[in-house]
């Protein structure tokens, strides 16, 4: 029991790093990264709701932070993360049914995910700005 564990350098089987990076590799990693980003991004929603609940002055403060160029950039990234994770999730729903595992299908779905998420993000912000009547 009390014996010190000896570290033996055993050979490891080839892992992720031996494979060429492909679009589905990137989309898989990005799905996890956006998931983690959205996890902490919930703080943005919390800040907005708490600001609104606290009163007019606090709400204006939160809105000012969100309206700052850096705040806008973060919100823009948050929007993209939502769409990217949402479309990535839809891909997983399809895979859950056992469909879409042919290489060409996987590649197509990966490209659709990234193109779709960027398009939806741009469309959302365009609609948002037009509703507000400008930047």
């Amino acid at each position: 029991m009390a014996e010190a564990t000896r570290v033996i350098e055993r050979p490891l089987s080839p892992h992720i790093s031996v494979y060429r990076v492909m679009i589905n590799t990137v989309m898989s990693i990005v799905h996890r990264i956006t998931g983690a980003a959205l996890y902490f991004g919930t703080l943005l929603l919390a800040a907005w709701l708490v600001g609104a609940a606290m009163g007019e002055r606090q709400f204006a403060m939160v809105n000012n932070l969100f309206g700052h160029p850096i705040g806008k950039l973060i919100l823009f990234g948050y929007t993209w993360a939502i769409f990217q994770h949402m479309l990535g999730g839809l891909r997983h729903f399809l895979w859950d049914t056992g469909r879409g595992f042919q290489i060409w299908q996987v590649n197509l779905l990966s490209w659709l995910t990234i193109i779709g998420s960027i398009s939806l993000t741009l469309a959302t912000w365009a609609i948002g700005f037009s509703l507000r009547g400008g930047l």
């Binding site: 996890r32 998931g35 983690a36 959205l38 996890y39 919930t42 703080l43 929603l45 919390a46 709701l49 708490v50 609104a52 609940a53 007019e56 709400f59 204006a60 939502i82 949402m86 999730g89 839809l90 997983h92 729903f93 859950d96 959302t124 609609i127 948002g128 509703l131 507000r132 009547g133």
Partner: protein
């Protein structure tokens, strides 16, 4: 191939972690509800983008909007907690650090979730 699993164990289908497909199923269930709720919430947000405080407050206090937000928060934090649990279990190998990280994950999601819930309820009932 002969199996060493007991008939009862096979029927229960819970595996060695004793949770079966619970994690997977809840992840997918909340993924589906998130998908619907986020889309509706975006429409709600579009309605109040750039609006003044009184309008925002009045809109968020409407029962259908408050319930939408409460559902989104609940569904969201369950999904978040499960997702982060997977990440922690994949990358944190030291048992002690893993347990602490999993605890912090539970605390974080609950604190953020209940804070949001409190804010939504205050907007509805706080006068």
């Amino acid at each position: 191939m002969s199996s060493f699993r007991t008939p009862l164990g096979k029927v229960r289908g819970l595996g060695s972690a004793k949770e079966g497909t619970e994690h997977f199923w809840k992840q997918r269930l909340t993924a589906a509800s998130n998908l619907i709720l986020v889309c509706i919430a975006m429409v709600l947000l579009a309605k109040i983008v750039g609006a003044d405080y009184a309008t925002v407050k009045r809109t968020l206090a409407k029962p259908q909007n408050a319930i939408l937000l409460l559902l989104l928060i609940l569904s969201g934090i369950i999904h978040m907690r499960l997702g982060m649990q997977s990440i922690i279990e994949d990358y944190v190998h030291s048992e002690g650090r893993k347990v602490i990280a999993l605890m912090l994950n539970s605390f974080f999601t609950l604190v953020v979730g209940l804070t949001c819930v409190f804010a939504v309820l205050k907007l509805s009932f706080g006068g």
